[in-house]
Symmetry: D2
């Protein structure tokens, strides 16, 4: 039985993810339909990866529909457009860094049409997407996940973390931790820099010590101390994710003073530094707050 | 030319560190003198590692004197006792997680006697000490470090980060980052737990994603979710280190809202949970704040 | 033209508020209907103030319906029960410390039945309610407010702050400021107390200086330093209000690190100290965090 | 017995304070010597208030020496210059917003010369200084205070709060509370403003409600909503005072997450907005963080 997959949203993450799907389905005799709001991107994708560019309504015939859009609002948009075209038995896998509340609503609406919804955000960045080594955190029915697990050609690791919305919640908390770890490292390095310490040496030591994190190991040395701040993951999107984490905390009636304060600081950074800058440029606000440059 | 080393302070870290020194010097035909406030610990060390238990005054004859004590105050204590016994040309290597201000003062006092002082705190925990793979971050004169570099048998990595006090400053900031990363992960997991997410699965995902840190990879799974909280590094000492980091920030006239708030929370945790508990037990305060258990 | 008023919710605030309405309407030849979930409270009120205890459905005939309930959820409850009984032309004045999002929804639902909704929370505590000197902050249509302004017999000051929900938003922010000012004063006094300063003298000075606030002037001396913590306004309710303020911030996409962190601390205090304690008992968490008593 | 008073530092606060001393001493047949680093200011003062402009060394003959300088560092400077000229029996009243640690040291040095030292910072701003209605918070020996109490012509209220340094500690905490109350009000108003609430009306309501503070009653309406930000008390000095409060907390080994975070934000504001702006201009950083103007 060959499979037809569809992929909506060919951005920095979605393009290589859909590419992995296309390679795999082509090997297996199936096919991968791709759609993007700007249609020319889908046509380029088809030429590059052997996928098939289609109109939105045409994806309704796929066995599995993947989406990878900026926020849950855009997912609501395509759901509204597709609406009646969707067929029972389809599984919708939303790889957007979406909102748990949206997942609950979307899952219920789709269930009414016999469509299963999995919130399945990914982590690993554009490098992980290119390599097909993304971590996928999944919320929703276990049986729906098992049905599509062989299709997740872009994944290095797939973990079901709970019911509908749990995937989005874990992604939001993960990104909030990224935000905290990055910001705190910036504060610490700023103080050391003001005190005349060699920041490259300090970072080398921290990366061999207990204070290390993905932020110190893979971001600050490469993006901040080099002053490059390459824009692969936008500051505005990380601020958005930290905001979803804040909603997760508030919906759970939790007490998280550090996550909440850091969310506020990233929102401020998005205003003061610019939402389209790389997320590591949040440390430019730390620099301004300390009147020092991290280099 | 054979070397005589001395080591002061045979606690959980100092005991294996001095053990590595003794093995190395014995191989090379030198010797390692050991001293501890409770003398019986030194005698046990001598039997176990082939070191030589001595009175405090006797260490003054060593080429290099290492110290590894709870705080800079205890280092001041042994310096005061040794005082006039110290000889010009000696190098003092203080592996205590000390205070940068103390380092400046101690270095100046010892320099007046012709003794070089290196602040050389270590990271890696008891496991790293046992394995002889500690990271050593050094502040002080480069030539003094070069003279003792071959003696650092307990080190996996040695990095000079600046002048006198810089080693202590980097260690304090490193430990403050550990404190932040650990606390924030606790807040995030508490919210997820309140929302019914499987915390083991969530942690597995985070450890394969951008929010990972040493705290999530090596502490929370092993010490918190297991409810074991094995006491290898005391909460009170991490709170003390976070306090030194706060002093580093304030002395540099830095702005570090997150580091400062987290320092306050660890001080509170030391009061509410207990200073002698393992540092990961700080998350028991997060649990009380959220009325949820992390398991 | 005589007026019939109705009042729902005879708690610590509602009882005296409805009492003022009853006195005024009785003087003018009108009447005040009162209802409470526990009916006996309404009967006691009728005997004490000359109001008239009624069944819930009977309030639908009033010209103005006031409500003063714990949260917007209880208001939703009575709205659902009253539903079809409500008559066009009625004005609903909700004095609950409610949620701006609820106000928007409730106002829209009632507008569909020709009923005007004003969110009209009050400030001034039980003392202000007894004295009929409450401050009322009103959101909703200006003309609806003008129509009921003469009925607000419990008010010392009435200010329209904006459209529907604005009254609740301002109340939430006001209470969040109370929470911040109270907590910060507790932190400051704890540090002074640890340092051996006479806290009564310190408070006297602060109350004559620039750091003073309603919290230092009217709460800490009377409720905390006396160790009385009389339960007039519950800690759990102030934590709830701080949470509404956090929602106001998040819905506005604002950056408020201090308000958000303090909200988290009050939620923790509600867990650790108890939601039914007086709101000033939040400082008992500050005391535990500092291992000092404020006296 | 006539008295000779001396006053060092004729800034915005010192000028009117010394003016009150001069008026009083002239009435009683005594005299007031005044000194300022810029001597012309003293000469102008002498003409305006009937004081007597002198060289620094000449103040040593006074019965009471008052100082009102930017920080304790400047007090150290004049103490070093006066040194041997000081006479036993003199009382030194330091009205600087100084550092408790400096007070301890200065009191000990002066005691060795038979001079009593009182730390006696004031609150009330330039308006209170002009009116002679300042609040004075005094640390140091009670008998020394009693000896000079009649001389405090600029005071409306004088309270001894503890031993040496306690006055400075209380002043620092008071100003930290001012900083917190002001900042939090800015955050709250920013969120309301983003939500379209009339800020003048909101402020009027808050000032009649439980969230009010000196900051909302006397600063935000007059200085922020008017966009005037008149520079009477510099942002850099309030940041300095919040920093002294942070030291008070740390020296007491206290846990004050809110005070510490707010100190960091004011330090950032001093960098980003400018240390010489009025302290209320700290809310311009809140505005930038929220992309909204408070008007």
């Amino acid at each position: 039985m060959t499979r037809t997959l569809a992929f909506l949203g060919l951005g920095a993450m979605g393009r290589p993810m859909a590419g992995h799907l296309a390679r795999r389905t082509n090997e297996l005799g199936g096919r991968t339909l791709v759609w993007n709001r700007t249609a020319s991107k889908a046509e380029v994708h088809a030429r590059e990866f052997g996928s098939q560019a289609v109109l939105l309504a045409e994806v309704a015939g796929a066995d599995v529909i993947f989406s990878c859009l900026p926020t849950s609002a855009e997912v609501d948009g395509v759901l509204a457009e597709l609406g009646e075209h969707l067929r029972p038995g389809t599984v919708w896998v939303d790889c957007t860094s979406g909102h748990p509340q949206a997942a609950g609503r979307q899952a219920a609406e789709l269930a009414a049409r016999g469509v299963s919804f999995l919130d399945a955000p990914v982590s690993g960045g554009t490098a992980g997407a290119e390599a097909g080594r993304l971590t996928v955190m999944v919320g929703g029915p276990a049986e729906a996940l098992e049905g599509v697990r062989p299709d997740l050609a872009f994944a290095g690791k797939v973990v079901r973390v709970g019911g509908s919305g749990a995937g989005f919640a874990v992604k939001a908390i993960n990104n909030a931790l990224l935000a905290v770890n990055l910001w705190a490292a910036g504060e610490g390095l700023a103080a050391l820099g003001l005190g005349g310490v060699d920041l490259g040496a300090a970072l080398e030591v921290i990366n061999a010590s207990s204070g290390r994190s993905n932020a110190t190991e893979n971001l600050i040395g490469q993006r901040v101390l080099t002053r490059e701040f390459p824009a692969t993951f936008a500051l505005g999107l990380l601020a958005k994710d930290a905001g979803i984490a804040a909603d997760v905390v508030r919906d759970a009636r939790g007490s998280a003073p550090v996550l909440m304060a850091v969310e506020a600081l990233y929102r401020a950074a998005a205003h003061l530094i610019g939402p389209d800058e790389d997320h590591t440029a949040a440390l430019q606000l730390v620099e301004r707050m300390n009147a020092v440059e991290l280099r």
